[in-house]
Amino acid sequence: MIKGKDIGGIPGHELEPVAGGGLLHRRLFLRGGGVMAAAFAVPGTARAEKLEVPAWTKEPEGYFKGYGARSKYETDVMRGPIGEPNALYASGPGAIRAPIHALEGMITPNSLHFEITHNGIPDIDPNQHRLIIHGLVKRPLSFSVEALSRYPMTSRISFVECAGNSGALISPRAVPGTAQTLHGLVSCAEWTGVSLAVLLAEAGVDPKAKWMLAEAADPSSVSRSVPIEKAMDDAMIALYQNGERIRPSNGYPVRLLLPGYQGNMNVKWLRQLKLTEGPSQTRYETSRYSLLLKGGLVAQYKFPLDAKSVIVRPSPGVGMAGPGLYEISGIAWSGHGKVRKVEVSADGGQSWAEAVLSGPVMSKAVTRFRMPWRWGGSSAVLQSRVTDETGYEQPTRDKLIAARGSKNFYHCNCISSWAVDGEGSVTHVYA
C-alpha cells in the first residue's frame, strides 16, 4: 500500500498497486471525482496565477455557421500521414490514418475517420447512383438512393478496421511510429441504413445462392465475395455515418456495412450485389487480403478481425511531463463480439491488472479502457491485452508469428509495446 501522503497528502486515503511498474487499482476511478481529482493533484508544483477577465468575455464576436467547425486551437488533430501524390497519377491507392492518440470515447468524428482508397474518391451524384441486386435472385432489382432512404432504418455502432492495420508489427525490428501511424487504420461510428435482409427478401433469393459479390462504383470497381449467411444476418446498406450522410471518402452515398469483417469488405460507393453459388475469387480476395503463412500456405476468406487493443495515451509523441499520476487510455475491439476485459501491464508483460471499460461495451464496436498509473520517473514498458466474449485472448507478437510465420501482415492483432524512458518519452518497441 502507498499511503495517501505519498500521493498528495489526502489523509486516510490509500492507493493500492495492482501490478508492477506503478499500475493502481481501478477503484481509483470508481470512487468518484473527488478522490480522483485529489489524487491527480500535485500540490506545491503548480502556483496559482492571478486571474483576469479575458478578452473573449468582454468583446462579443462570432455567429452561427450552417455547418460547424472545430476550434482553431484544435486543428493539429489531423489524419495522416498525407504522402506524396502518386508519381504518375494523383489518385491511385492510398491510406490515411485516424489520430487515435488524440481522440476520446468510442466514436470517431466523421472528418477523422480513417480512409483507404484503391483509386481515388469518386464524386457520385446521389440522384444518378443506383444499387442493383441481381444474379441468383427471382427479380433483379434497382434501387435509387431516394428509394433506399424510404426503407425502415436500423442503426448500430460498429468499428471498421483495415485488415492491414498494425501490419508493421510483423517487421523484424520495431518500426518507429506512433499509435496513429502503426494502428490508425481503425475507426468507429454509428451507422444507419437499411437491413440488407429486407432488400434480399424483396429480390427473392435463389436457394442456390451461397455468396454475394459486392462491387463499388469507384474507378477500381472494388469487388468482394461475401457469404450469404453474413448478408442475411447483420449486413446493412448504410446511408448515414454518425447521423449525417456518409462522407464521400467513406462511401457516399451508399456503403455496405459488415460488422466485424475486414474493412475492404464493407464496400464503399456500393453499386451492385450479385448473388452467386461460389466466391468470385476477385483480386482483392486472392492477391490481396489473403494470408501467406508458413510453408507457403495461403489462407483466404478469413473475414472477422480478431480481438485487438492498443494503448493510445501514453504513446509515442504523447509522453509524460514528469513523475506523477497519469491515466493510461486505450481502445479495444473484436470482430467476434463484445470486449470482455482489457488488462494492462507496465512491466513488459510480467504482471497485469484489469482496466476499467469506460462507456457502453457493444458488440463489434470500439470500447475505451482506462487504467490509473503512478509513473515514478523510471523506464517502463506499457502493454494492453484484450479478451473478447468468446474467451479469445489477444496474443503476444511471438505467439502470433510462431503460429503464422513472419511473411503475412494482414490481420495482425498482437500485443503492442510502448517503452517509456526516464524522461517520460515513449517509443515503439518489441518486448
Partner: protein
C-alpha cells in the same frame, strides 16, 4: 427458397441474436428493440425497380473462377505485347517487374522461402482474376477503357511472361479458366472455420 422463407429466416436469425445478447450482459431491452425492428423491416415498401438482364449488362462484368461470364473473342500474348508497353509498362516495368506498381512476373516457387515474391505468376490462384481485374480496374488512369479483345491480349501477355502459356496460345472463354496457376493448391478457404484450424491442419 421462397421470399416468405427468406424473410422468416431473417427474423429467426434476429431472434437468436437477441436471445444471445440477453445472456451476454447486454441490455435485453436494446436487443428486443432490435429484434422487433428486424421483424418490422422485413416488410419494406418494395421500391426496387425490376431490371432485365439487358438493362444491367454493362455492369455485369464479374468473371467467375470457372470462366463464367467471360466475353466472346480471344487473343494471344503476341497480340498483347505492344499494348502492354503502351498501357502498362510505365507502372509495372517493361518486363513486368521493377516498376512503381505491383510486380507481375517471376517469383514462382519462392513463397515458402525467406524472401517470397508475390506476383501474378507466383501467387494468383486463378487466371480468370487477371482478366476480371484488368477489365474493371486497369489502367489506373483510365479504367474500363480497354476492349474485351485488348483485355484478353494483356492477360495472355502477362501469363506468357510468367511462362504459364505460350506466346501463340489464344486466351479465350475456354482456355483462360484452364490455365494451371502454380500456386492454386496453396490456397485454403478459412470461412466458415477459423484461421487456427487451418493452421493446425
Amino acid at each position: 427458397m421462397s421470399t416468405h422463407k427468406v424473410m422468416r429466416g431473417a427474423v429467426l436469425v434476429a431472434t437468436v441474436v437477441a436471445l444471445a445478447a440477453c445472456d451476454n450482459q447486454g441490455a435485453p431491452e436494446t436487443a428486443q428493440t432490435e429484434s422487433m425492428a428486424r421483424k418490422q423491416i422485413a416488410e419494406g415498401p418494395n421500391l426496387g425497380v425490376e431490371l432485365s438482364h439487358e438493362d444491367l449488362a454493362a455492369w455485369d462484368i464479374a468473371i467467375g473462377p470457372d470462366g463464367s461470364n467471360l466475353p466472346p473473342g480471344g487473343a494471344t500474348a503476341a497480340d498483347g505485347k505492344g499494348l502492354y508497353v503502351e498501357q502498362c509498362a510505365s507502372c509495372h516495368g517493361m518486363d513486368g517487374e521493377g516498376g512503381a506498381a505491383d510486380r507481375l512476373v517471376g517469383g514462382i516457387g519462392s513463397l515458402a522461402g525467406d524472401a517470397p515474391v508475390k506476383t501474378v505468376g507466383s501467387y494468383w490462384p486463378y487466371a480468370t482474376t487477371l482478366f476480371d481485374f484488368i477489365r474493371r480496374s486497369m489502367p489506373l488512369n483510365a479504367p474500363q477503357s480497354l476492349s474485351d479483345q485488348q483485355v484478353y491480349a494483356l492477360s495472355a501477355y502477362i501469363l506468357s511472361m510468367n511462362g504459364l502459356v505460350g506466346e501463340g496460345d489464344k486466351m479465350n472463354a475456354e482456355t483462360l479458366p484452364a490455365v494451371v496457376m502454380p500456386n492454386r493448391g496453396a490456397f485454403v478457404q478459412v470461412y466458415p472455420g477459423t484461421l487456427e484450424s487451418v493452421i493446425a491442419e
